[in-house]
Amino acid sequence: MLAPMIVELGHFTLVLALMLAAVQVVVPFWGAARGWTGWMALAAPLATLQFAAIAISFAALTWAFVTSDFSVKLVFENSHTLKPMLYKVAGVWGNHEGSMLLWVLILSGFGASLHGFGSGLPLRLKAHVLSVQGLIGFAFLAFILLTSNPFLRLAEPPFDGQDMNPLLQDPGLAFHPPFLYLGYVGLSMAFSFAVAALIEGRVDAAWARWVRPWTLAAWVFLTIGIALGSWWAYYELGWGGFWFWDPVENASFMPWLLATALLHSAIVVEKREALKNWTILLAILAFGFSLIGTFLVRSGVITSVHAFANDPERGIFILGLLAFFVGGALTLYAARAGTMEAKGVFSTVSRESALVANNLLLAVAAFVVFTGTLWPLVAEMAFGRKLSVGAPFFDKAFTPFMLILAVILPLGAILPWKRARLARAARPLAGAVALALALAALAFALGTGRSAIAPVAAALGGWLVFGAMTDLWLRAGRRPTRLKRLPRADWGRAFAHGGLGIVMTGIGCLTAWNLEDIRVVKPGESYDLGGYSFRLASVDEVRGPNYVARRAEIAVTRDGAEVGTMLPEKRFYPVAGMPTTEAAILQGSFRDLYIALGDPQADGGYAVRTYVKPFANWIWAGALLMAFGGILSLSDRRYRIAAGARRPAVAAAAATPAE
């Protein structure tokens, strides 16, 4: 009976969420200003209610997609009855309106998480944080309802939908946006904490301890989201590239860089009560860049692969939100930053200084990505030059900062706080240096000698990985039995830093040693590449649920031994009228074999592109290790204890082992 009304119910709860958000802005804020605890205490339940309302709304839209209700305009434009169920669900956020709904769902989810995890948080701080969070929610709910309503109906429901862009019908991409959004929007918590701190005029170790888990969670999600996107590009776009410096990729990368910086500067606030202003500024900027990312993607101002919304009205609305939130926060910052005194004293050679260097390099790297991304826009508007900024620029302008960062990282990670002697601190790293140099020599010997990229990458990667191991070893007081009892945060740090080394090794070796072969092959013919022998056994027509495909069967052997069979496809999606390339990838620890099938040729053969991609998997494995390191740190007992700080007995027990 109720079924036809579900979409309207979702629409209704979305409006309800807007009103709840408005109340969540005003009531806790007013309560905090007047010192009324009752009003302040309403913040968390309101946040939970708002989340529930948006969750119902999101569920209603998902229901419309799953049941293929083509009377809903959005479903008609982005779905099709023949589409597999996974992509019907993923289709909810595979479009502008739905993805914005996911955005606010996650936003309100983070707000509601304070209800559960924020029990030890001072009431006033919590009220301010949730008030700011409510304001962001209100603004974006208004954006959705005014410019991007997903629940609009069509007067005459069509018989079937227009299908989703086939490139997006892929498991990697189905989960890429939710993770990215969890990251982007997770940074809203750091932003809200920063604004709340500015309103209250105080930042201390406790504040930093509160803000770090949310930043860390956002960072973990961003890392996974970016890795998923890059992995998708690798296997779906058909030539095995993994990073293109596309404006939309940059839009997700800038918040990642700043979130990484923020994680590290918050450590200094927590441990040493220094870098307070800078940390607040980073928190504002990190979320600011998430909003810029949203703006770039949603407005289509810099046209790129991802820009599926080219509506100036929406662009201007988001630009307004961006100006309001970042401008407002920065104004508040300018007014209040002076009141926050640093306390910690430290010498130039110390962990603190190393973390300052980390922040400097990451922030400047983010700035370079920012200028490069926006330069075409600036050049056209200010100088009337239509130009492009792409991969060659970023490779040159961005990479040096990451190289310097990698060089100082293992040393900085083991420097003592306050005051250190460089020579003494560096001594335990001698082993790591030796192993890194040995790896570089190995890479040099293995390579053809034409490129320095692989040896440098191997050296830096080895330096980071062995440096991380040394770090753990020193933390355990050079005693293996103590390794197991180290806090998880120490293990998390080692995994994250080592993961970065693995990513760098992967990128460097793949760039230097990538082998490619392009040729026409007839069924029955063989060819060799990189020591492997490929035989095109057959080419057949196959049929998928919503596509037809031509599929080749290629047998791979090495020195006569069978390695595997690869089945590259070229698909055609009739509803969307688009072909896609489904590359076949034979994954391995040290190399991927990668084949993309092309068009049939006049002589009865097929165009075939074959690659041997060394160390490709290291890029994503390293990224996952970094994310895993983040999760380990997040599960450290300090945070678990902090979440339950109301129980004094546990808190007292925790006070001793913590540093």
Binding site: L167, G238, A342, R385, P579, P648
Partner: protein, 165 residues
């Protein structure tokens, strides 16, 4: 191998204009470089690939001509190979194409005029940051540990409450 004749630039531009902003060519992911384009000389081919990676497909959304599947990219790839076979240097090939399509097709903007700002932005910011960091570090060394700020009434109350538990 046989090279097709170079198309007159006017034709290329007409082709680019007539195709207009292509309907998401990046998304039509097929093979870019076709087997019949590949040069016999591997050194020349490697140079062609390197040059192609720096040139933007004029009608696509942020793809280089090496990856692009658009017809105009194929023509450009062939022009690049034709010029290289004729003995042009890498810079001459790039100039040849930029002369005809404008700097829009260059993925690495030339460090001339206003573009200097773009190239200088990163290093300048690093220097600025280094200066700021140095000043900050010097202040942090000098400043003695101040007395901790007095607790507010609310904090006193909270401590009292905690002590009771």
């Amino acid at each position: 191998m046989r090279l097709p004749r170079i198309l007159p630039p006017a034709f290329l531009i007409a082709l680019a204009v007539s195709l207009g902003p292509a309907p998401a060519p990046l998304l039509s992911s097929a093979l870019a470089v076709q087997p019949d384009e590949v040069l016999g000389d591997p050194v020349l081919e490697a140079r062609a690939r390197a040059i192609s990676a720096k040139l933007r497909c004029p009608v696509c959304q942020g793809e280089n001509i090496d990856e692009s599947n658009a017809p105009v990219s194929r023509e450009l790839r062939l022009v690049v190979r034709e010029r290289l076979t004729a003995g042009d240097s890498d810079a001459q090939v790039i100039d040849y194409i930029v002369d005809r399509f404008g700097e829009f097709v260059l993925f690495e903007p030339r460090a001339t005029g206003a573009n200097l700002l773009l190239w200088v932005a990163g290093p300048a910011m690093l220097l600025l940051g280094l200066g700021g960091a140095a000043a900050y570090l010097r202040r942090r060394q000098r400043q003695p540990d101040g007395a901790p700020a007095p607790l507010s009434a609310a904090e006193e109350a909270r401590i009292a409450e905690l002590m009771k538990e």
